[in-house]
Symmetry: C2
Subunit: 306 residues, 2 copies
């Protein structure tokens, strides 16, 4: 197994101004694995209920996603329902029904031991610590956004952060973790607590990453059609960790390429509902978007000003 | 004269969590010209009252800024007072005292006719139209942010926009002008009304510009010390228009370099109070920051994903 993701597999109901889509395949592990498998094989550790549709399992199992670690428990699958405003950056949660996710206890299958990368999505930090203990030596441990737990279980969050090589958070979480409103300062402070790279996800405003090579910053690709931003952050992480899993992620140029690919995946995902945009292999489209991002950002420093 | 700016020269009083600075040289024309003169000579059209300090005039007149068009009228100078929160992106205006700016009637000195570029800062749009009529044929007309007037005098704003080659606005103004919340869509719609380039300024999140060459997008430089964001937008415009004034601004690579320099100027300005950071020639520092931005954003599109 190359990459292991521990997170949620869910049924999402999404309302936008133009339409409603019910019980889509969703959850962090779902978006992450569909993005990451463009680069490396992925093994999922998550739980679904008895009601999780076979067609969603088929979608995940189709290519390079190992579901050995996806438990099926008696009860209902984790459900989320949300509504997006005309401005798709504004969303409101209508319903969260934890179902079997409430008693989720991640167990790593034998085949997942010795992975190249481990991605811990937003789950209870004590569970993340258990996974870290069970997983053995892993070259790249990445931990994602954990807003809820920063206030709810800070000591455990701090222990998880100390064991992460790459931490992915947003502006607000950087502020919560450090007490400083300036994300550039916050990222440097967080690096002193363990992670070699702090990736600050800014959604429609792109990404800023502070690592051993200094700062890497990339804007998002301008997209004229944003249908459904659900899962953009998890897909971003899937693109980044997927690309870096068997590479030297301490290398500046490789990390920069990973961020560009991650940006491209996220721009793709928001253009369709649910995981629709990455249900199939979209490598060619990802490469095309990466070229568009390159063309939109490249410049030469002028030699003369006058 | 290479560049003419029509805008405000003001006395700013700025409160931050750490200190207060009173009656600093400020206003759009002041920030713009101090940034732009790093590239080309600038002529200012603005008005001050009898109380405007000689030391501020000396600062402006020092190098490559022509003050022939700066009228001095009986009465008090335009004053602005504001307070920044711990998060410097949040500011509150405490006081706006228009003074002589209320009766400002811009007049172009003879020597300013036939400039390479004209920058119309945020003033009443009918005055902007008068300036456009008086200025004759100008290769590059740039118009800046005009939030107040979009709601107050929309017909005049539309006429100004139709005569601009480059329009600089923010997300909110793009939304107000078009009714669409997606800035990528809004920029394309606004281009159909006249401007060949629409530059969307996003402050700490960078800039996105839609022109004949497609999209150019650049993030802001991460800055660990933001002392005073006042004038960042006007300095950004000064860097951009300053660099492009005698160049082919329809050329993608030149526009991209201009955006990078503008980003560098803005990052410099916010690090000191008022115009402190650009009161002297800072060309070397601007070039260094431009290199930092280049290093933070460059990447190669991966040839293989696996």
């Amino acid at each position: 197994m190359s990459i292991v993701v521990v997170g949620s597999v869910a049924l999402d109901t999404i309302h936008t101004p133009s339409s409603t889509h019910e019980e889509l395949a969703g959850g962090s592990a779902c978006y992450f694995s569909l993005a990451a498998r463009h680069f490396r094989p992925v093994g999922v550790v998550a739980v679904v209920g008895e009601d999780f549709p076979q067609r969603h399992l088929d979608l995940l199992a189709r290519r390079d996603i190992d579901l050995t670690g996806l438990a099926r428990e008696p009860g209902r699958t984790f459900r989320w329902e949300g509504v997006y405003a005309e401005d798709p950056n504004q969303r409101r949660t209508l319903r969260t029904e934890l179902g079997v996710f409430e008693r989720f206890h991640p167990t790593l299958p034998e085949a997942y031991i010795g992975a190249e990368a481990l991605f811990l999505a937003n789950i209870e930090p004590n569970l993340q610590l258990e996974v870290l203990d069970a997983a053995g030596e892993i070259p790249l441990v990445a931990v994602d956004t954990m807003n809820f737990w920063i206030e709810g279980n800070r000591p455990a969050v701090d222990r998880v952060i100390a064991r992460a090589q790459v931490l992915l958070i947003n502006d607000e979480e950087a502020h919560l973790l450090t007490g400083t409103a300036n994300p550039a300062v916050a990222a440097e402070q967080i690096r002193e607590r363990g992670p070699e790279v702090v990736v600050i996800k800014k959604g429609a405003h792109g990404v800023a990453a502070r690592g051993p090579w200094g700062w890497l910053v990339l804007p998002a690709l301008p997209v004229t059609e944003v249908l459904d931003p659900t899962g953009a952050g998890d897909s971003f992480a899937g693109g980044l960790i997927g690309y870096l899993a068997d590479r030297d992620w301490r290398d500046r140029d490789l990390f920069a390429a990973g961020l560009a690919l991650a940006t491209s995946v996220a721009s793709l995902v928001v253009g369709e509902f649910g995981v629709g945009a990455i249900a199939e292999d979209r490598s060619d489209e990802l490469r095309a978007r990466c070229h568009r991002l390159h063309e939109a950002t490249r410049f030469e420093v002028p030699r003369t000003f006058r």
